[in-house]
């Protein structure tokens, strides 16, 4: 969606005066509306509206083989699909490239760079079933139904929500099921059906996942969680990954201008503060939310 230059001018000027078009203060997030467990076929799912941005995430857990580099770690694979329902420009292969970029960022934010060491994201080590042979493979599939700005931030939020809502089955495995087959006895994996209770165990390390907060620099003003229009006004947009403890885990910059190094620290501090605040409220919500809601 492109906006007219008059709209862009107006928005830029109002940001200078600390006024945003939707009535927020500069450091406010848009209202966040979360729905958990709406896709029955998924192991975990969530839908999030952040202002007009609307994303659904479904998480599916499957048993698969580990990567050779990390034989005793589970795997996570993220995809982001820009649905044509969001805009005709995503028709056919229109949204493919952006979807790929978002998926990369999402994956980087959910999973630590060195999963075998743990920390900084989901604990993939806990998803190992038989080291070197079988692990849980988590597919995190995001579907963007509407883009009103801040898609990356929403993707991470909603993926987090879906993962908090995901339960993987408890596995029981027996060695050497096929007798007399010779050398390597194939372990047999049985997924325990536990209908009552929680339907499996929750994932570990969800609380460690950092959130990506976008900060738009509109002239001298800085706005948190910019909308589409504000993203267009901004000379640069900083994407700051911050965890619940308020630590900065990653920084990325986009936009048409650079950022003054002197302002960088202040920006990161603001991003981290905003991020930890949202994360805290999210996690508080996950705790009290009905598990595997309908």
């Amino acid at each position: 969606m492109s906006h007219s230059s008059a709209e862009i001018d107006f928005c830029t000027q109002s940001c200078q005066h600390g006024i945003r078009l939707d009535g927020r203060a500069c450091e406010d997030f848009r209202p966040l509306e979360l729905e958990l467990g709406l896709i029955a076929q998924a192991s975990g799912s969530a839908r999030l509206h952040l202002g007009s941005t609307d994303v659904i995430v479904g998480v599916k857990a499957e048993v698969g083989a580990p990567l050779r580099e990390h034989p005793d770690c589970g795997r996570l694979q993220a995809t982001v699909e820009m649905s044509s329902c969001a805009s005709p420009e995503y028709e056919g292969r229109g949204g493919e490239l952006w979807g790929l970029q978002l998926a990369q960022a999402l994956e980087a934010s959910l999973v630590p760079e060195h999963p075998e060491k743990g920390g900084g994201g989901l604990d993939l080590r806990s998803l190992s079933i038989i080291p070197g042979k079988a692990v849980w493979l988590l597919y995190v599939d995001a579907l963007v139904l509407n883009d009103g700005g801040g898609v990356l931030c929403v993707c991470v939020c909603v993926a987090l929500a879906a993962l908090s809502n995901t339960r993987v089955c408890v596995c029981v495995f027996t060695m050497g099921g096929g007798a007399g087959e010779g050398d390597a006895a194939e372990p047999e994996i049985e997924l325990e059906d536990d209908e009552e209770g929680e339907g499996g165990r929750p994932l570990q390390g969800v609380a460690e996942v950092p959130l990506i907060v976008s900060l738009g620099q509109v002239d001298n003003a800085v706005v948190v969680d910019p909308t589409c229009l504000e993203e267009q006004c901004a000379a640069s947009v900083m994407h700051i990954a911050a965890n619940a403890r308020g630590e900065v885990c990653g920084v990325q910059q986009s936009g048409r201008q650079g950022v003054d190094p002197a302002a960088l620290v202040a920006l990161m501090e603001r991003g981290a503060a905003a991020g930890s605040e949202v994360l805290a409220s999210l996690h508080a919500y996950f705790k009290q939310a009905p598990q595997q809601g309908t």
Binding site: Q41, D54, E62, S84, P88, Y139, D141
Partner: protein, 244 residues
């Protein structure tokens, strides 16, 4: 596997001629001109309509009517087993075409010459009958977008398993390999705008299944009508055009 118990109950507890629970909501998306979610049991489909707008590819323009573009896509998480399928696999392409053909009969295209209407269908959950659910969702989305419609087309499927005609098959029943007859009907004029069937069926049984599917369509149509009426009335009341 037994699909109908001796007591006449199906796997999910329905009677043979019973529809699954229907649900729908309108205007669910922000940027689309019209949108709707339609749910039949565990099948859940989202449709978005953009337009009528200018024709994008000039040489596709029709002097005497609107052209309809349709894209059917399945979310990666929509099926039981995760499957990342593109929008351009053979099945999606075929379904896009089929849905488009049914909608071309429903939308009064001749009233909107030289324009284009985009209809995007996104399957969120697939549990059998996605093509008819997609048509239902698309028709509701078109209605909410204010596109002129000839009739409220409604779709429903019926099949035949173990000597029973079954209405509105779910995924398990659908994959049993029996015949599956998907139809869409204009309830007021009683015209079939879509009819597709696979597998083998004697002619008279086919007629029975066809009639059952038609009854299903009428039930779906009255549900859609009811919901659309409520929605329209609610909006009219909210802006004070109608008193409660």
């Amino acid at each position: 596997m037994e699909y109908v118990t001796p007591e006449g109950l199906r796997i999910d507890g329905r009677r043979p001629k019973e529809l699954r629970r229907l649900d729908c909501s309108l205007d669910v998306l922000q940027s689309a001109d019209g949108s709707a979610v339609f749910q039949m049991g565990n099948t859940k489909v989202l449709a978005a309509v953009f337009g009528p707008h200018e024709v994008e590819v000039r040489n596709q323009m029709k002097e005497d009517k609107a052209i309809i573009k349709c894209e059917y896509a399945m979310a990666a998480f929509s099926t039981g087993e995760r499957r990342k399928r593109g929008k351009s696999d053979r099945r999606s392409q075929e379904l896009s075409l089929v849905i488009k053909a049914a909608l071309e009969q429903t939308v009064m295209v001749e009233l909107l010459p030289r324009t284009q209407i985009d209809v995007y269908v996104q399957v969120l959950q697939a549990d059998g009958g996605t093509r008819v659910a997609a048509i239902n969702a698309a028709v509701l989305a078109l209605a909410s977008a204010g596109v002129p419609l000839r009739d409220l087309a409604a779709g429903c499927a019926a099949g035949y398993l173990e000597g029973h005609s079954l209405l509105d098959l779910n995924f398990q029943e659908d994959s049993a390999g029996g015949p599956d007859c998907s139809i869409a009907l204009h309830p007021n004029s009683d015209r079939l705008v879509l009819l597709q069937m696979d597998s083998r069926l004697p002619m008279d049984t086919f007629e029975a299944v066809l009639n059952l599917a038609q009854d299903g369509c009428r039930a779906v149509a009255s549900f859609m009508r009811q919901r659309l009426l409520e929605h329209t009335r609610k909006l009219a009341m909210a802006r004070g055009a109608v008193r409660a």
